[in-house]
C-alpha cells in the first residue's frame, strides 16, 4: 500500500528458479564485501538479495598490489579472489548475514571441479544460505589454463558437479570473454543450472607509461562499471533468448534506468557492482526507482517488464 495514495504498491517480487526475491535488486559479488561493510550506509533489508565476495575452500591472499585502477567510466581490478575461505566465512561472516531479512547468496570459486563440488557440499551444512552463485570466470587468477567459463565442456562439468553436490538453487555466473555467450548459456542450462548471471568483468589491461610497467601487478584485470554496460546488455539479451531459465543481468548498472534496460532485455533480476563503491546507496535507489517507474507506467508487477523489449 502506498501510504499517501492508498494505492496498492507495485509488486517487485521475482523468482530466480526456486528462489523468490522480494525485489530484483542484488549486490554483485566482490563489490559489497560480506554485507556488513555497508551496514551503516545502506538499509540491507531493502535489498532483493546479498551476494557475498567469492569464497574458496581455503583462504586466499589475493594478488600483490596495485590491484585496482580507474579507467574511463570504469575500473580494472585484479584482487585475485582474496577471501577468508569457506570455514571462516561460515563462522565469522554468515552469522551477521543470517540476522538480516534479505536472502544471502554465496558466490563460490575453485581451481578444480572437485573444489567447486566440495565447496557446494560444505555450504549445504550452513544455515542461512539461499542459493549458490558459481563464478566460472575468474579472469584474475593465473591458473595455468583457460577459465572454466570460456569452454562449454568445462562450464558443463562445473555446473553438473555443483548441481549434484547441493540442494540449493544454483546460479552459474558466466564470463563475457567468449565468442558466443548463447552457447555457454545453453550448456550450463542443460547441465542443470537453475539460473545464469552475467556478465563478469571483461579482461583488460592498463600501462603506466612512466615506469613502462603494467599498472596492475597481475598485468591483466577485470573491467567493470558503466563503461561495460552496452556489452553486458547485449550479452544478457542474447543469453535470455537462448535459455528458458532466469537470467540475472550484471554490468555497469548504476541507476534505475540501467536496471530497467536489463529487465526489458530479458533479465529477471539485476546485480549492482562497481556502483556500490562510488554510490553506496545505488541498490536502494534502484529499488525505489523501480516502484516509482511501475507506478508511472501503471503496471502492477515488475514481472511485466521482464523481456518486454520490442524488436520489430
Amino acid at each position: 500500500m502506498d501510504p499517501l495514495t492508498g494505492a496498492a504498491s507495485p509488486d517487485l517480487r521475482v523468482d530466480i528458479g526456486p528462489l523468490r526475491l522480494r525485489n530484483p535488486v542484488m549486490t554483485a559479488s566482490g563489490t559489497f564485501g560480506y554485507g556488513e561493510e555497508f551496514a551503516s550506509l545502506v538499509n540491507l533489508n531493502r535489498l532483493g538479495a546479498i551476494i557475498v565476495k567469492g569464497i574458496s575452500l581455503e583462504p586466499r591472499r589475493g594478488n600483490p598490489p596495485p590491484r585496482i585502477i580507474e579507467t574511463a567510466c570504469g575500473m580494472l581490478n585484479a584482487i585475485g579472489l582474496e577471501n577468508v575461505g569457506v570455514d571462516r566465512f561460515i563462522t565469522e561472516k554468515l552469522p551477521f548475514l543470517r540476522r538480516l531479512e534479505t536472502p544471502v547468496i554465496v558466490n563460490i570459486l575453485g581451481d578444480s571441479i572437485e573444489e567447486y563440488s566440495r565447496l557446494a557440499d560444505k555450504l549445504n551444512y550452513a544455515r542461512g544460505i539461499a542459493a549458490l552463485e558459481v563464478n566460472i570466470s575468474c579472469p584474475n587468477v593465473k591458473k595455468g589454463g583457460v577459465a572454466f567459463g570460456t569452454v562449454p565442456e568445462m562450464a558443463t562439468a562445473v555446473t553438473r558437479s555443483v548441481r549434484q553436490a547441493t540442494g540449493l538453487p544454483v546460479i552459474i555466473k558466466l564470463s563475457p570473454n567468449v565468442t558466443d555467450i548463447a552457447l555457454i548459456a545453453r550448456a550450463v542450462e542443460e547441465a542443470g543450472a537453475d539460473a545464469i548471471s552475467l556478465i563478469n568483468t571483461l579482461l583488460g589491461m592498463a600501462v603506466d607509461i612512466r615506469t613502462r610497467r603494467p599498472r596492475l601487478a597481475n598485468i591483466f584485470g577485470g573491467l567493470s562499471g558503466p563503461a561495460i554496460k552496452p556489452v553486458a546488455l547485449r550479452m544478457v539479451w542474447q543469453a535470455a533468448r537462448a535459455v528458458s531459465i532466469p537470467v540475472v543481468g550484471i554490468g555497469g548498472i548504476t541507476t534505475v534506468e540501467d536496471a530497467l534496460e536489463f529487465l526489458m532485455a530479458g533479465a529477471t533480476a539485476v546485480q549492482v557492482g562497481t556502483a556500490n563503491f562510488f554510490r553506496p546507496t545505488a541498490t536502494e535507489e534502484i529499488v525505489a526507482g523501480l516502484e516509482e517507474f511501475l507506478r508511472q507506467e501503471d503496471l502492477s508487477s515488475v514481472r511485466q517488464l521482464i523481456g518486454s523489449l520490442k524488436t520489430e
Binding site: 566482490g30 563489490t31 559489497f32 564485501g33 561493510e37 555497508f38 551503516s40 550506509l41 565476495k53 591472499r61 589475493g62 600483490p64 598490489p65 596495485p66 590491484r67 585496482i68 585502477i69 580507474e70 574511463a72 567510466c73 570504469g74 575500473m75 581490478n77 584482487i79 582474496e82 562499471g225 558503466p226 548504476t254 562497481t274 556500490n276 563503491f277 562510488f278 553506496p280 546507496t281
Partner: protein, 261 residues
C-alpha cells in the same frame, strides 16, 4: 565505528598555491565523529568520469559541523574538487579508517611532507586540546617550496607548536629533506607521527626503528570504496600477507608495514 554519507556544501575555499587548495565543507555528522588520521571519500558532480570517489585525510574538524580537506591538484578528481564553487555540494563518506593513536604519553614529534601535512594539523589540534602541549619538540614540515608551507606553518604555530620547516628548493627553512631535521629531535621523543610520501615515511620509520622509538605512519594506496569491501587497497604487511589500508589503516604502526621500496 559510525560512517555517514553527507552531501556537503562548500563553505570555504582557499587557494594556498596555484595547485594546493583547501575546502571547508559542512558535514556535521562526519565532523562530530572524526578522529585525527581518519579520512573521507569524496566525489564532486554527477559525471561518471572520474568514476570513483577520492580519499582525503580530514585536515580539520570543528564543533560547528565543518570539516576541511587540504589537497593538491594532481588529476581529474582533484581538478573537479578544486573547481567546486561556494555552496556546491560535495558527496562525502566518512569518517573512515583507523586514525592515529593519541593515547601515547610523553613528548611526540609530528612530521609532515607535502599534502601529508593535512592530517597532522587535525592531530596537533587534538593533542593540544588533550593538554599534551607541554614542552613539545617542534613539528617538522616539508614541502617543495615556501608557498606551500607559509600558511600551514603559521597555523601550527598558532596552536602552540614550535615549527621547523624544510623545502626542496631552500626557499624557506632547511634546504633539503624534512627527515634530516629529525636526527636532533629524535632522542627527546617517545612517539613519532608521520605522514608524507613513501620514501620520506620509510626514512623516518627506519630512523625510529634504529632509535627504538614507536612511529605511526599514514599510508596511501589506490582505493575504490574506502569501506573494506573492494579489497583493492592492499599494502604488504611486515608479517606477510596484506594490510587493507582503508580498514587496517590508513594509520599503522611503522612496524606493521614492509619497507621495501
Amino acid at each position: 565505528m559510525p560512517e555517514f554519507q553527507e552531501k556537503s556544501p562548500v563553505r570555504g575555499r582557499e587557494q594556498l598555491t596555484p595547485d594546493v587548495c583547501r575546502l571547508t565543507l559542512h558535514a556535521p555528522k562526519i565532523a562530530e565523529h572524526a578522529r585525527p588520521g581518519q579520512f573521507v571519500m569524496a566525489r564532486a558532480g554527477a559525471t561518471l568520469d572520474p568514476l570513483l570517489r577520492r580519499p582525503f585525510s580530514i585536515h580539520k574538524a570543528t564543533g560547528d559541523g565543518l570539516i576541511s580537506i587540504l589537497f593538491k591538484v594532481v588529476g581529474k578528481g582533484t581538478r573537479l574538487l578544486a573547481a567546486a564553487a561556494e555552496s556546491v555540494e560535495i558527496d562525502l563518506i566518512g569518517p573512515l579508517g583507523r586514525g592515529f593513536d593519541t593515547t601515547v604519553a610523553g613528548p611526540h614529534c609530528l612530521i609532515g611532507g607535502g599534502m601529508g601535512i593535512a592530517p597532522l594539523y587535525f592531530l596537533a589540534e587534538r593533542l593540544m586540546r588533550a593538554g599534551r602541549q607541554a614542552s613539545n619538540p617542534p613539528v617538522l614540515l616539508g614541502a617543495q617550496t615556501q608557498a606551500e608551507l607559509l600558511l600551514l606553518a603559521e597555523e601550527f604555530t598558532e596552536l602552540g607548536y614550535p615549527v621547523l620547516t624544510a623545502t626542496d628548493d631552500g626557499t624557506i627553512g632547511h634546504h633539503g629533506f624534512v627527515t634530516e631535521l629529525l636526527d636532533d629531535i629524535l632522542p627527546e621523543v617517545q612517539q613519532v607521527y608521520v605522514c608524507g610520501p613513501m620514501p620520506m615515511m620509510r626514512t623516518v620509520a627506519l630512523k625510529c626503528r634504529a632509535a627504538g622509538t614507536p612511529c605511526q605512519v599514514s599510508l596511501e594506496t589506490h582505493m575504490a570504496c574506502g569501506l573494506g569491501a573492494c579489497l583493492g587497497c592492499t599494502y604488504p604487511a611486515s608479517g606477510g600477507g596484506y594490510l587493507h589500508v582503508c580498514k587496517d589503516g590508513p594509520v599503522c604502526s611503522a612496524e606493521e608495514v614492509t619497507w621495501t621500496l
